[in-house]
C-alpha cells in the first residue's frame, strides 16, 4: 500500500465531508464510503472530481473500472494506485 497516496485520499475525503457538513468517524482501510461515511452518490462524484484535481487522474474513465466496485477506502486506494502506476509506466 502506498502511504502517500493513501494519506492524500483520506485528506480529500475529510475535506469533501467537511464542506458538506458530514461528521466522519475514524477512517480505516475497511471503512465503507457510502454506508459508514454517509456519502451520497453526488458526494462520491464530488470526491472523485476532487481526487482528479489532486492526483491528476480519473481512473473511472477506464471502461473496466466501475464505481460500483468501490465499497471501502481500501478499494479506492487500490484503484488510484493502479491508475497512477499505469500513468507512470506510460510516461516512462
Amino acid at each position: 500500500m502506498n502511504t502517500a497516496i493513501q494519506n492524500q485520499i483520506v485528506t480529500v475525503i475529510r475535506r469533501v465531508a467537511e464542506e458538506r457538513h458530514l461528521k466522519l468517524p475514524e477512517i480505516a482501510d475497511s471503512t465503507e464510503i457510502v454506508d459508514e461515511l454517509g456519502f451520497s452518490s453526488l458526494q462520491v462524484a464530488t470526491l472523485i472530481a476532487n481526487l482528479e484535481e489532486e492526483l491528476g487522474v480519473d481512473p473511472f474513465q477506464d471502461e473496466d473500472v466501475m464505481i460500483a466496485d468501490v465499497r471501502t477506502v481500501k478499494d479506492l486506494n487500490e484503484i488510484y494506485e493502479r491508475a497512477l502506476a499505469a500513468r507512470e509506466s506510460q510516461v516512462a
Partner: protein
C-alpha cells in the same frame, strides 16, 4: 492568472453567435477560453484586443484528445473553469430523406456529443469549487420543429432534455444548468434561408425582425450571472415572440 478569475469556456467562438458571446463576456470581465476548428479574421482581431483575457485553440469538439488538451491548457492559463457556454453547433439543411448518413452523424457528434463531453469535463471542475454555471445553446427549432432541419432540431431538443436532467443532478452541488433557445438570427447559420423564408419568419415574429447575436449574447450574460441564481433547468427562448 489568479484563482479569483471568472473563467468561462465558450465552444465555437470563431464566428457568429459564439464569437458574439466571447465579445460580450470579455466586456463583462470574464477570462474567456474558446476553440474552433479554424481561426477567422474576426477572431484574430478580438484576440489582439483582448489583453490576454481571451484564449483560443484549434480543436475539433469531436476529438477527445484535443478537447482534453484544451481543458488542460485553459486550467494552466486561467485557473479552474466556473462557467461553460456550449455554443458550438452546425446545421445541415435539407429534407431528411435526402441527407447523407454521415452528415447526420456529424451533426449529432458536434451539437450533442461535443456539448455533453464538455459539460462532463467542466462539471468536474465546478464540483470541486461547489459552484458553476452551464448554458447549452439550443434552438427554437428544437422546441417547435422546422421543415428541412429534422436532424438538427433533434440534436437541439436533446440538448434541452440534457439541460433539465443535468440541472437535477448538479443542483445541490451549486451548479446551475440552463438552455438558451435563440430564434432565427442573422448569422451564417441562417444564410441558407431564402429571402422568402426570412420575410415569412419576420412576418410571424411579434417583434417584427430577425434576432441578432447581441439579443442572444445579453441573455447568455444574464443566465451566467448571479442575477439568475435561482434559475436552473430552464430553456429561455429568445425569439422576439415567434413561438408564442
Amino acid at each position: 492568472m489568479s484563482s479569483k478569475n471568472k473563467v468561462v469556456i465558450v465552444s465555437g467562438g470563431s464566428k457568429g453567435l459564439g464569437l458574439g458571446i466571447c465579445k460580450t463576456l470579455l466586456e463583462t470581465g470574464y477570462c474567456v477560453a474558446t476553440f474552433s476548428r479554424k481561426r477567422t479574421p474576426e477572431l484574430d482581431e478580438l484576440l489582439q484586443s483582448s489583453d490576454g483575457k481571451l484564449y483560443w485553440q484549434a480543436v475539433d469538439v469531436t476529438d477527445e484528445a484535443q478537447l482534453s488538451d484544451f481543458l488542460r491548457q485553459v486550467k494552466e492559463k486561467f485557473g479552474r473553469v466556473g462557467y461553460l457556454v456550449n455554443s458550438a453547433g452546425m446545421a445541415n439543411e435539407g429534407l431528411l430523406t435526402l441527407m447523407k448518413g454521415n452528415e447526420v452523424s456529424r451533426m449529432v457528434q458536434v451539437n450533442l456529443e461535443g456539448a455533453i463531453a464538455l459539460a462532463q469535463a467542466c462539471a468536474k471542475q465546478m464540483m470541486v469549487a461547489s459552484f458553476g454555471v452551464i448554458i447549452n445553446v439550443s434552438s427554437i427549432v428544437g422546441v417547435r420543429g422546422f421543415k428541412g432541419l429534422a436532424a438538427y432540431s433533434a440534436t437541439k431538443a436533446a440538448l434541452d432534455g440534457f439541460t433539465r436532467s443535468l440541472a437535477k443532478e448538479l443542483g445541490s452541488a451549486g451548479i446551475r444548468v440552463n438552455s438558451l433557445a435563440p430564434g432565427f438570427m442573422d448569422t451564417d447559420m441562417t444564410s441558407e434561408l431564402t429571402d422568402k423564408q426570412k420575410k415569412r419568419i419576420i412576418r410571424q415574429t411579434p417583434a417584427g425582425r430577425l434576432g441578432t447575436v447581441a439579443d442572444a449574447s445579453s441573455a447568455i450574460k444574464f443566465l451566467l450571472s448571479d442575477e439568475s441564481s435561482f434559475i436552473t433547468g430552464q430553456t429561455l427562448v429568445v425569439d422576439g415572440g415567434l413561438t408564442v
